[in-house]
C-alpha cells in the first residue's frame, strides 16, 4: 500500500442494501488506512417464531414456520415436517420422501435462478437492477422470467403454489400429482435444457472478483446422493459425521462479546454453509451433467472464493434439473400410490387411536442458502413445548464479517464506489436471507 493510501479515510454506509432478501445495512469505516469498523447490520424487525409456535399443534407448525420466509418456505416446511414427525415418532413412506426431494429441488432451482439472474447478474452486467436489463439484455431477462415461470408452474402442480406450499404436511402429502401432471413436468424440464445451457454460458462470461479466504465448510452428507433432503452433518475440518439430533456438536451458537448477535462457529472463528460448502464437501456425488457444468465454469473443490458461491449455485441448477427428471421418470415408470395421500390433521375418527409420543424431533435439510435445522419438543398431545430454528444466513454471518475484514484492506486502493460495490457484491454472493435470519433476533456485528 502506498504512503498516500495508508492515510486513506473511508466511510461507507449502505443503508438497506438492495437485491437481498430482507433489511440489512453495510457499514465500513477506515481511518488513516486502518480498518476500524466493518459490519453487516441486520435491521429487520424480529418476529419471535420460537414463541409463535409454542402451544401450537405439530400438525400446523409447518404452516406457521413456512411463514419465516417467502423465498425459503418449502425448505422450512421440509425441516419442519421432519422435526414434527421425529417428535411424534412417525415414519413417512419412501414415496413421500421422493416427492419431497422433488419439490425441494424446485425451490432450490427457483431460488438459485432468482439469485443468479436478478440479484447477481445486474452487478456483472453493470446495471443497478434487472429492470434496465429489460432494454439492454431483453433475451436474458425473458429467459430468466421464462425459467422462473416454469419452476413456479411445477410448484403449482406439486403443492398449489411455491410460496407456502399447501399440500406438504406431517405424515405426507394431501394431494399427489396425476400421471398427466408428471408428464407435463417432464415436458417442461426437457424443454428447458437449452435455457439451462444459455444460463451456463452467461456465467462463463461473468467475471467475479479474485478473492480467497479458506474457512470451514459445513453441509449435510449422504452415502447415496448429493445431500439436500436428508443426511448427516459434516464439515471440511472433521472426518466423520454427526446425526441431525446432535447438530449442536457442530453448530455452536455463541454470543460475541462485541455484539448482541447470535453467531455460529465450530473449529474456527466462523464457518460457511450454502452451495459452495455443499460443493466443497459433496461435489463427487453431483450427477455427470452438473460435473460437466462445474468444469466448464472452472469450479473445482476445494474452492475458497466466496464470490464463487453463485457459480456453485449454477452447478446445482444443473444437478437439480437432471435429478428432478430422474425422480419424475421413476414415477412415470413405477406409478404413484395414491392411497398414500393423507389429511393435514388426523381425522376425527383417527384421533382417538392416533399414537403420539412425547419427545423431541430434529429436521435437518440443505436449503438453497445452506443447512437449516428445526428442533421441536412436543407433549403427548402433539403440542409444541419448545422450539429452535438454526437458519443458514445466521450461520454465515460471522463468515461474511471475516471475509469483509480480509477483503477491504486488499481493495483499499480502489475508489469508494468500487469498494462499496465490492462489499455489496460480497454480501450478495452469500445470498443472505434476512427475513430468515430475523425470525428471532436483531443481529449486529461489528
Amino acid at each position: 500500500m502506498s504512503g498516500e493510501l495508508a492515510k486513506k479515510d473511508l466511510n461507507i454506509n449502505v443503508e438497506y442494501i438492495t437485491r437481498v432478501e430482507g433489511h440489512g445495512n453495510i457499514v465500513v469505516n477506515v481511518k488513516e488506512g486502518k480498518l476500524e469498523k466493518c459490519q453487516l447490520e441486520i435491521v429487520e424487525a424480529p418476529r419471535f417464531f420460537e414463541a409463535m409456535v409454542r402451544g401450537r399443534s405439530l400438525f400446523e407448525v409447518q404452516h406457521i414456520t413456512s411463514r419465516i420466509c417467502g423465498i425459503c418456505s418449502t425448505g422450512h416446511c421440509m425441516a419442519s415436517v421432519q422435526a414434527a414427525e421425529g417428535a411424534m415418532g412417525y415414519e413417512v413412506s419412501e414415496q413421500t420422501k421422493l416427492f419431497r426431494k422433488l419439490i425441494l429441488h424446485l425451490e432450490t432451482l427457483d431460488s438459485h435462478l432468482l439469485h443468479a439472474y436478478f440479484l447477481v447478474a445486474p452487478d456483472a452486467l453493470g446495471a443497478p437492477s434487472v429492470v434496465p436489463l429489460i432494454k439492454t439484455h431483453k433475451d436474458v431477462v425473458l429467459r430468466a422470467l421464462r425459467m422462473k415461470r416454469q419452476y413456479s408452474d411445477m410448484c403449482d402442480i406439486m403443492a398449489g403454489r411455491h410460496t407456502h406450499p399447501i399440500s406438504v404436511c406431517p405424515r405426507g402429502w394431501t394431494k399427489l400429482p396425476s400421471k398427466k401432471e408428471l408428464e407435463k413436468m417432464k415436458e417442461i424440464f426437457t424443454g428447458q435444457l437449452d435455457d439451462l445451457k444459455e444460463t451456463v454460458e452467461i456465467f462463463k462470461s461473468v467475471k467475479l472478483p479474485d478473492f480467497e479466504r479458506e474457512t470451514e465448510y459445513v453441509a449435510l452428507t449422504h452415502p447415496d446422493e448429493y445431500a439436500f433432503y436428508e443426511g448427516e452433518l459434516t464439515t471440511s475440518d472433521i472426518s466423520g459425521t454427526v446425526k441431525p439430533g446432535d447438530y449442536m456438536e457442530i453448530v455452536h451458537e455463541y454470543h460475541a462479546a462485541h455484539s448482541t448477535a447470535k453467531h455460529s462457529r465450530n473449529k474456527r472463528d466462523s464457518y460457511m454453509v450454502g452451495a459452495l460448502a455443499r460443493f466443497n464437501i459433496n461435489s463427487g456425488q453431483l450427477n455427470d451433467e452438473a460435473k460437466a457444468v462445474a468444469e466448464e465454469l472452472g469450479l473445482k473443490a476445494p474452492c475458497y472464493n466466496p464470490f464463487m458461491n453463485t457459480v456453485a449455485q449454477v452447478v446445482e441448477i444443473a444437478h437439480c434439473t437432471y435429478d428432478a427428471i430422474r425422480i419424475i421418470d421413476h414415477f412415470l415408470e413405477n406409478g404413484v400410490d395414491y392411497d398414500d395421500v393423507v389429511t393435514s390433521w388426523p381425522t376425527r375418527d383417527e384421533w382417538p387411536s392416533f399414537k403420539v409420543k412425547k419427545g423431541r424431533g430434529v429436521g435437518a435439510v440443505e436449503v438453497p442458502r445452506g443447512l437449516l435445522i428445526h428442533d421441536y419438543t412436543a407433549d403427548e398431545k402433539a403440542v409444541v413445548t419448545e422450539a429452535n430454528c438454526c437458519i443458514p444466513t445466521n450461520q454465515n454471518l460471522a463468515n461474511v464479517d471475516l471475509d469483509m475484514k480480509k477483503l477491504i484492506p486488499e481493495i483499499i486502493g480502489k475508489s469508494e464506489e468500487e469498494i462499496t460495490l465490492l462489499s455489496e457484491m460480497l454480501v450478495r454472493a452469500y445470498d443472505p436471507c434476512i427475513s430468515c435470519s430475523c425470525h428471532l433476533l436483531d443481529v449486529k456485528f461489528v
Binding site: 438497506y16 438492495t18 437485491r19 437481498v20 432478501e21 430482507g22 433489511h23 429487520e44 424487525a45 424480529p46 418476529r47 419471535f48 420460537e50 414463541a51 409463535m52 409454542r54 401450537r56 400446523e60 404452516h63 406457521i64 411463514r67 419465516i68 420466509c69 417467502g70 423465498i71 418456505s73 432468482l114 436478478f118 443497478p128 437492477s129 434487472v130 429492470v131 429489460i134 422470467l145 422462473k148 415461470r149 413456479s152 403443492a159 398449489g160 403454489r161 410460496t163 407456502h164 399447501i166 399440500s167 404436511c169 402429502w173 394431501t174 394431494k175 454470543h255 448482541t260 395421500v341 389429511t343 393435514s344 390433521w345 381425522t347 376425527r348 375418527d349 427475513s435 428471532l440 433476533l441
Partner: protein, 256 residues
C-alpha cells in the same frame, strides 16, 4: 404508449413479514411487464437498487411492530396518495399476531433463554391500527389473480373491495369434497373468499388467512360444527392463527 402520459408511480415497502407477497409479483411475469406499461415501480428493495420517495401508490407489506417502523409507515402515508395493505401480515396482523399471546418479556425469554437483550420486541399490528389504509389485499400469500384485479380497479380510480362471502362458495364451485366430510375442521365457512379456495383445492384445510367475514354466519357455523360433532372450542384456537389482532380489537371494543 406516448411518453407524455404520466405513469402512476408505485412503491413497495416491507415490515415484519416473510416478503412472500412481494415474491408473488415476480411470478406475474408477462402480466407484470404488461402492468409496467401503465405504471412505474419506483421502489422495490427486494429486486431493485434504484429508489425514490415520490410515489402515488404505496404497497405496504408486513405488520408494524417497532417504534421506528411506526414512524416509517407514517412517512409512507404522508408521501402516498393511496396506501394498500398488501398480504395478511399487513391487512390482518396475520401469523405475527401469535406473538401477542406472550408479553414482551416472555417472548424474549423464550427466544433468548435468559440472555440479556436490549432488543425492542415491538407489538405486532396490522397497518390500519397505525395509519389509515385505503385498500386491502388479503392472503397468506396474496393471490396474483386478485392482486391484478385489484390493481387494475385501483388504477381506474374505482378502488377495490374484496369479496364478502365465504371461501365455501368458491370451494363448492371447484367441486371439492367438503373437508368436514373428510373429518377435518375447516375455517372456510367464516373466511373471506377471493383465493379460489386455494388450500382446500390442494387437500388442506382453510386456516382463515384472508380473515373473518365482516359478518360471519355464526349461527350457520355453530350448526355445522354440531352436525359434525365439534364444539366452538375446537375452532377458536384455529381462528387466532391469523385473526388474533382482530380478536384483540373486538375484545377492546367490547370493554368500551
Amino acid at each position: 404508449m406516448s411518453e407524455d402520459k404520466k405513469k402512476v408511480r408505485i412503491a413497495f415497502f416491507d415490515f415484519a413479514d416473510c416478503e412472500g407477497c412481494q415474491l408473488q409479483l415476480t411470478y406475474l411475469n408477462e402480466n407484470f411487464l404488461g402492468l409496467l406499461e401503465h405504471c412505474e415501480i419506483v421502489s422495490f428493495r427486494e429486486a431493485m437498487s434504484e429508489r425514490s420517495d415520490e410515489y402515488d401508490i404505496a404497497f405496504v407489506e408486513g405488520s408494524i411492530t417497532r417504534k421506528h417502523d411506526e414512524e416509517r409507515v407514517r412517512k409512507i402515508r404522508e408521501n402516498a396518495k393511496i396506501v394498500i395493505a398488501y398480504g395478511s401480515c399487513a391487512s390482518l396482523g396475520g401469523v405475527n399476531g401469535l406473538r401477542r399471546r406472550f408479553s414482551d418479556e416472555e417472548a424474549k425469554e423464550i427466544v433468548y433463554k435468559g440472555r440479556d437483550s436490549h432488543l425492542e420486541a415491538g407489538w405486532p399490528r396490522p397497518v390500519h391500527e397505525v395509519v389509515k389504509v385505503d385498500h386491502f389485499i388479503h392472503g397468506c400469500p396474496s393471490n396474483n389473480d386478485e392482486t391484478i384485479k385489484a390493481v387494475k380497479s385501483i388504477l381506474l380510480g374505482k378502488g377495490y373491495t374484496p369479496p364478502d362471502y365465504p371461501v365455501c362458495v368458491e370451494c363448492k364451485l371447484k367441486e371439492n369434497v367438503c373437508l368436514f366430510e373428510k373429518g377435518q375442521v375447516c375455517m372456510g365457512p367464516v373466511t373471506r373468499a377471493g383465493c379460489g379456495a386455494w388450500c382446500p383445492s390442494w387437500g388442506n384445510t382453510c386456516y382463515s388467512c384472508r380473515g373473518l367475514l365482516d359478518d360471519p354466519a355464526e349461527q350457520g357455523q355453530t350448526e355445522l360444527l354440531e352436525k359434525y360433532g365439534y364444539t366452538i372450542d375446537d375452532i377458536t384456537e384455529k381462528f387466532d392463527l391469523y385473526n388474533r389482532c382482530r380478536m384483540d380489537a373486538e375484545k377492546e371494543a367490547e370493554k368500551k
